[in-house]
Subunit: 432 residues, 2 copies
């Protein structure tokens, strides 16, 4: 994560340049924006049609007559709870985990994460004294800003969320350590280690080591390590995620980390393959419960993916094609923000090196107003509180921008409109 600007403040608090537009100017600019009658959407981290086209060959794979995997198994029939080894080998290399500790599942890592916490609630995890659902209270650390669907899983399962701040190097490990040291009700935390949603930060090896090492009062403390963007680079600086599973084992907490990934933003969102990796004990625990719920994943789709990629380098080459399509959209976002807001002192934003989001911080108390203004001008933004548990941003200042789905021309128009809304909201706030 690169924060391009200092902490934003209301215009009134900073020396205003002579050229700063007045509230009336901004109201006129906003009226002009509304007059355009836009209908644009920056709400969700969906791949664009052009990105989906990169995987179009999948739609005719594996092809008639091709229905056995490298081991000779007929993928059309029942069985194989672990998923296709041929595909797991590819992603074991990419994710840096032993293939024996990697499961390939259905179409969504969200489901694997939900099921992990649902199993924990119903049955407990290795090391639990009882099912989490029989604890008086279960709490969970949510680094913020974060991913709204993580928070929805906790909320659905009655897990109380507490926040720690994100830093440029991932979650604030000292804040985590302070929370978990004495409180056995805190059973775990979310981490998006690589190009986090939404702030783009990358967990350093040092922070990873700190998180997996921290002494926790709960004997069954877990880190759900959602490496959703492990391979989703936007620059030549292709970071390698810290190997949290090995680091946890070294730190004497072998069962602390469960890692998730998927091809949702590699091939087809919703028709890809999801992965879970963890310690042997956690994998055995997961499979034990999964065995009552499933006879096995869709092996045909797994073979389809294995044939499409060929090997790990095939995935890497494929991801560079994604980058070619979406990096210019991210550039458009940050360059328009710099042009329009660079001198105004009312906003800061991230310049991510990967992932799917730009995080935009506006004047505290104005994020909801920016979303409201944008909506009235035909630009849909993610609700202001979305990156926070219960949808509540305590400072009402963080906006998540998702530029991958619209064509680049629309991204430009939308971002220019967003900039106008940010300025107007800031000026309104300054005017009181």
């Amino acid at each position: 994560m690169t924060t391009a600007q200092p902490e934003p403040t209301a215009p009134a608090d900073v020396p205003t340049a002579g050229a700063a537009p007045s509230l009336d100017d901004l109201r006129r600019a906003y009226a002009d924006l509304q007059a355009l009658g836009l209908k644009l959407d920056l709400t969700r981290g969906k791949p664009s049609a052009e990105q989906l086209d990169l995987s179009e060959a999948l739609l005719a794979l594996p092809g008639e007559g091709v229905h056995t995997d490298a081991g000779g198994t007929d993928v059309r029939n029942y069985g194989g709870l672990d998923g296709l080894r041929q595909l797991r080998e590819i992603f074991a290399e990419l994710l840096g985990v032993p293939v024996e500790q990697l499961l390939a599942g259905g179409n969504a890592s969200l489901t694997l994460m939900y099921d992990t916490l649902a199993y924990a609630t119903l049955f407990g995890v290795p090391g639990s004294e009882r099912p989490w659902g029989r604890e008086e209270k279960v709490r969970w650390i949510c680094p913020v800003p974060g991913y709204d669907r993580h928070f929805s899983v906790c909320e659905a399962l009655g897990i109380e969320m507490i926040t720690v701040p994100m830093t440029d190097d991932g979650p604030d490990a000292a804040a985590v350590a302070a929370l978990v040291a004495e409180d056995p009700t805190i059973k775990g935390m979310w981490v998006v280690p690589t190009y986090a949603n939404p702030d783009g930060s990358v967990v350093t090896e040092e922070v990873a080591r700190a998180l997996v090492s921290v002494p926790a009062a709960a004997p069954d403390f877990r880190i759900l390590w959602d490496n959703a963007y492990a391979l989703h680079h936007l620059t030549d600086d292709e970071v390698t995620s810290a190997d949290a599973i090995s680091l946890a084992a070294e730190a004497g907490h072998p069962d602390r980390v469960l890692l998730y990934a998927s091809t949702s933003k590699i091939t087809f969102a919703g028709a890809g393959v999801a992965f879970l990796a963890s310690s042997p004990a956690n994998v055995a625990w997961y499979k034990k419960h999964l065995s009552a719920q499933s006879i096995g994943p869709d092996k045909v789709n797994q073979l389809r993916h294995a044939l499409f990629f060929g090997d790990a380098d095939g995935v890497r080459a494929h991801m560079r094609k994604h980058r070619d399509i979406i990096a210019p959209k991210f550039d458009a976002v940050t360059s328009i923000l710099a042009d329009r807001l660079g001198d105004a002192g009312v906003a800061s934003w991230t310049e991510p090196k990967g992932g799917y989001f730009v995080s935009l911080e506006v004047v505290p108390g104005t994020a909801s107003r920016v979303v409201e203004l944008a909506k009235a001008a035909g630009i849909a933004l993610t609700p202001a509180g979305a990156p926070f548990p219960y949808g509540k941003d305590p400072e009402d200042k963080v906006l998540r921008l998702a530029p991958t789905l619209p064509p680049i021309e629309e991204v430009r128009v939308a971002m220019d409109g967003v900039a106008t809304c940010v300025l107007l909201a800031a000026a309104e706030a300054a005017a009181g």
Copy 2:
């Protein structure tokens, strides 16, 4: 279900024909069987490779450039918790339910059933006073013999199972009524309405009406109506399943029935599409909880299936091809049983008009012995207690035969071997 023979008894209890083989004769026959060095498997209800070949075209569908559904939605991207309407319309017709009340999900109805009971345990269902997991005890009616994976779901979720007998017309409705009238801990029951696993019985309209009407002490009593074999006919007498959802609404219990089905034994086992249908309130309840667990099912696979079938008649025509392949295997099973055991008075069996199984009743106390003898002769049978909760057949007399997977020649050899084992086990029992 047709029971081909009277209730079996040990040979000693029936008039023995002069030609009845002695224990020594049977031991010699069994030794000859062992000498064949067989390696055959009648354990699981898997489709054969020849059946899977019927759907081979799926492996190249939808085809490059084909990625929108009939409504214009790009199936490659996220979204759509209900599943593809185009496919739901086909199966709404086949299952006799309104398309608005039918969800298309992932690759396994088992997962939909598990998730239904997991949601019930975690959150309760419409009408529940509290989550089932917070009840002191939750009990569930299991008609026996039944499907082992149903029982595994209950066992995994800590739901205590109680049994009622199956009849030729489905579960014994009077026994169900007696159980549920006064006992609010009984929260529901399993029903396999069409060509039940394993006894092949079909729930009549009368029994369906009785089950959905029965007054239950639990206000949130549910019937999980697993119509796994709705379309899996073996004869020209293609039964239509009772419309349990409508019957339940008519009886004043609109939320009592949840119906499940899948294409696992229509297209590819493990790479098909599963369905859930119920009342509007139950569907909304299911989707509410699903929305935390999933962004939506694999719509590409759903489009693939919709294009492959075309319409409901396409599915019906496809199922007749399955029948052409597997009906002769069922004929082989029942004709060999008749030839070898018809005069012995030691066994009875079903002659199912659909589904995947033949249920064979042997002399009480000898089913496990038959499985043991068969195994030692290289013939794998489903464990003797499998069709009963906790794997325990109180009379040790029911065997489930699954003839679809092996080639017909192997079915013949295996069944001849099984007959020898049944006779020997009966003679051993008679000898004391």
